[in-house]
């Protein structure tokens, strides 16, 4: 049998990339992402090198490794969660390989090896390698640092494989979930501290070399159990099949009362709850609700209302921005269909606009607990809400018209992939979305005080509402002008 190596598989992926439509644009985006990744690597590198000195300076009597160990448990937990949302095995690419004379064992090796090339697997290496080198230089070479290093890498790689199991098998997901609940209960309700125990275990590995066998064994076990699981999955009706979901959101008849418009909004709500990608994006929008916690908890920001306006805009407009920037790309999969249906652009656009405005209303209501931070904070949120309701929503809708990269609805976005719709025009729209509201707050605020700042925001929002019809006319014209261009890029 001819062998098919990881290298061949990579070559295929390379072709897939360069032969994809609009690959030039994607390349530019990749390069930008590349810079972003480099930036992160530099930050982590600094963290690794500087980390040693910072830790020894802060508490010179303690071994810095022991301090790190106290944090590791939490790190691995967070790592697993983030991976769960952003990492997937490149399994679907193996389908054409199945009929070729390549042993299944090799296919499995390829899939597992390629999964190692994930951003998350590099974080511990990039942070800890420089740390360990500095440690060895400063304290003299010893094996113990390096066994500790190996142990952490093993654990991190193990979680790489666990995530796959959790994603694909309900049983493993249940086992992991059960374990977490049990560990949390132990930590919370008994004097036993799981995190401490974990830290002590890691200390032990650092002190006595042979304990490193445990993480090594764990990694071996994780790999072999994944390989075994994968082998069973390499059939069209198992792991390679599309997952079939049960129907959710069937009863949204409430919207039918809103004649002429309700069914479009109903459809958008189904789009959001029934598609992985849409759920992911909307979840991000929901996370913006907590944005205020960064700023409102710190006295220095509370004294700078201009900064607080930013949080107000994100809190009330999180969903609006994350959802709105992909209008009309959300409907890209069936855009030709929509274009020959009896629905006017006006109606289509209005339904999206109303959905965004509605979300601003909901977010503003939900943000009520922020009143804990004082009446000023609450007033800023409300004023920002009115701005987003009237003006932000329609600007977001306008910005979507320039976004012609299709969205694959039911496919999970990888880490950083949400930037695929990045473009210069989208960058420009940050001006009216974020800079303008800050200005209309800041200018009156600087001259006439806090209340005038609020009035500036509210007034701009009301202006948006007042001229909504005219603004919609402009957007409609833009959509008309870009119709064929949008269709052709959505159909690629």
């Amino acid at each position: 049998m001819n062998s098919f190596s990881v290298l061949d598989s990579l070559k295929f992926s390379k072709k897939k990339f360069f032969r994809a439509p609009q690959w030039e644009l994607k390349l530019v985006v990749r390069i930008l992402i590349g810079f972003l990744v480099l930036y992160f690597l530099a930050v982590f590198l600094f963290l690794g090198v500087g980390g040693y000195y910072i830790l020894t300076k802060e508490s010179p009597e303690k071994n810095p490794i022991f301090i790190i160990n106290t944090l590791l448990g939490l790190y691995f937990f967070a790592d697993l969660i983030v991976r769960y949302f952003f990492q997937s095995l490149p399994v679907t690419e193996v389908k054409p390989l199945l009929l070729l004379p390549i042993p299944k064992k090799e296919i499995i090796q390829i899939v597992l090896t390629r999964s190692l090339a994930s951003f998350f697997n590099f974080i511990p290496i990039v942070v800890l390698l420089p740390f360990c080198i500095v440690f060895s230089v400063e304290k003299g070479f010893s094996f113990s640092v390096w066994t500790w290093f190996v142990a952490i890498i093993c654990l991190s790689l193990s979680s790489n494989f666990w995530v796959y199991l959790i994603n694909k098998s309900k049983q493993s997901a249940a086992v992991f979930f059960g374990t977490f609940v049990a560990l949390y209960a132990l930590e919370k309700f008994t004097p036993l501290s799981v995190l401490d125990l974990f830290a002590q275990g890691m200390n032990l590995i650092h002190e006595e070399l042979y304990w490193v066998l445990i993480p090594l064994g764990l990694l071996y076990f994780s790999i072999s159990i994944s390989a075994k699981f994968l082998k069973k999955q390499l059939f069209l009706d198992k792991g390679l099949s599309k997952k079939r979901e049960g129907v959710v959101g069937a009863n949204l008849n409430f919207f039918d009362r809103w004649e002429g418009m309700g069914f479009l909004i109903k459809n958008d709500i189904r789009l959001i709850i029934r598609n992985i990608r849409a759920r992911q994006v909307v979840l991000m929008g929901a996370l913006f609700l907590f944005y205020g916690l960064f700023f409102f908890t710190q006295q220095q920001y509370l004294e700078q209302p201009t900064i607080l306006v930013f949080s107000g805009l994100f809190i009330t407009g999180g969903f609006m921005i994350t959802f709105g920037q992909y209008v009309p790309a959300w409907d890209s999969e069936y855009y030709s269909f929509l274009m020959c249906q009896n629905v006017s652009y006006r109606k289509y656009l209005s339904s999206k606009l109303y959905l965004m405005m509605f979300s601003v209303l909901v977010c503003t209501i939900i943000s009520f607990p922020y009143s804990f931070f004082g009446i000023d904070v609450m007033l800023i949120i409300w004023a920002s809400g009115i701005f987003n309701f009237g003006f932000g929503s329609i600007i977001t809708l306008y910005s979507g018209a320039f976004n012609s990269t299709p969205v694959k609805l039911n496919i999970k976005a990888k880490a950083f992939e949400n930037t695929q719709n990045f473009s210069f025009v989208q960058m420009l729209f940050i001006l009216p979305k974020l800079i303008l509201p800050v200005l209309v707050f800041y200018l009156p605020y600087a001259f006439f005080g806090f209340n005038s700042g609020l009035a500036g925001l509210i007034f701009t929002g009301l202006l948006g509402l007042l001229f909504q019809k005219q603004l919609l006319n402009i957007i409609e014209k833009t959509y008309h002008k870009k119709k064929y261009q949008t269709l052709s890029s959505f159909n690629k």
Binding site: K242, R244, E245, G246, V247, A250, F263, N267, R270, L271, R274, N275, E333, Y334, Y335, S336, F337, M339, C340, Q341, N342, V343, S344, L409, N410, Y484, L487, S488, N491
Partner: protein, 231 residues
């Protein structure tokens, strides 16, 4: 029903479609045949205003498709699976179309029962999303969807491909019945010469964007087409 006036479509200097005048009267079952790259889908896309013509114009019921959207209420099309909304169930998709074409939920529930034999029990009440249907069943669902609200013009691209033999025969009857009962105009493209000659009363043969033959279907048509394509 449709008037094509001197239309052409060029992609980077290459002419892919070049039609002088073509008129399709109401209630005609118009068949379009031709090898790959003949320009069938291009013509359909031009009629549906999904691509821009390089020159000339197309009118549906005297409405210039480029200038006005008033042809949309009269027209329905199923070109491929992207004409379905993948995350809806069949029923939800039909209600959605009903909303667009002014047909109520209960009317659709009742109307759709006529198609039970065509659906062969595999479409309605499935409790799964359209994206999870097989290709053939997606096609069945899509074709019936075009008939909601009795549009005057129905455009179907390759409707026979991916269908099982029983459904192919039922589809032919369905098209004939609809055209007869409601005067629906059908535009059908197909690679299957037998089916298209059986179902259409006029056949246009395209080759590299140009009309080669424009014939009224007779018992000789199939032979004529077969002899053309075997050369």
């Amino acid at each position: 029903m449709i008037k094509v006036k001197n239309i052409s479509k060029t992609y980077s200097g290459q002419v892919v479609l070049q039609l002088p005048d073509l008129e399709i009267p109401k209630a005609q079952r118009f068949g379009l045949v031709g090898n790959n790259g003949a320009g069938k889908t291009t013509l359909f896309s031009l009629i549906l205003d999904l691509i821009e013509a390089s020159s000339g114009e197309i009118a549906i019921n005297e409405i210039d498709v480029k200038k006005s959207e008033d042809w949309k209420p009269l027209t329905a099309a199923f070109i491929d699976e992207s004409y379905l909304i993948g995350y809806l169930t069949v029923e939800e998709y039909y209600y959605f179309l009903g909303n667009l074409r002014g047909v109520s939920k209960s009317e659709i529930d009742q109307w759709v029962q006529i198609f039970e034999p065509f659906f062969n029990g595999e479409i309605l009440g499935q409790k799964k999303y359209l994206r999870d249907f097989s290709k053939g069943n997606q096609k069945k669902a899509g074709i019936v969807g075009t008939l909601i609200g009795k549009p005057e013009l129905v455009v179907l691209d390759e409707p026979f491909a991916n269908l099982d033999p029983t459904t192919q025969i039922r589809l032919k009857n369905l098209i004939r019945e609809e055209a007869e009962k409601y005067g629906t105009t059908f535009l059908v493209s197909s690679h299957d010469l037998t089916h298209v000659t059986e179902v259409c009363n006029r056949i246009v043969l395209l080759e590299k964007g140009v009309i080669i033959k424009d014939i009224e279907t007779t018992s000789e048509t199939l032979k004529e087409l077969e002899s053309y394509f075997s050369n």
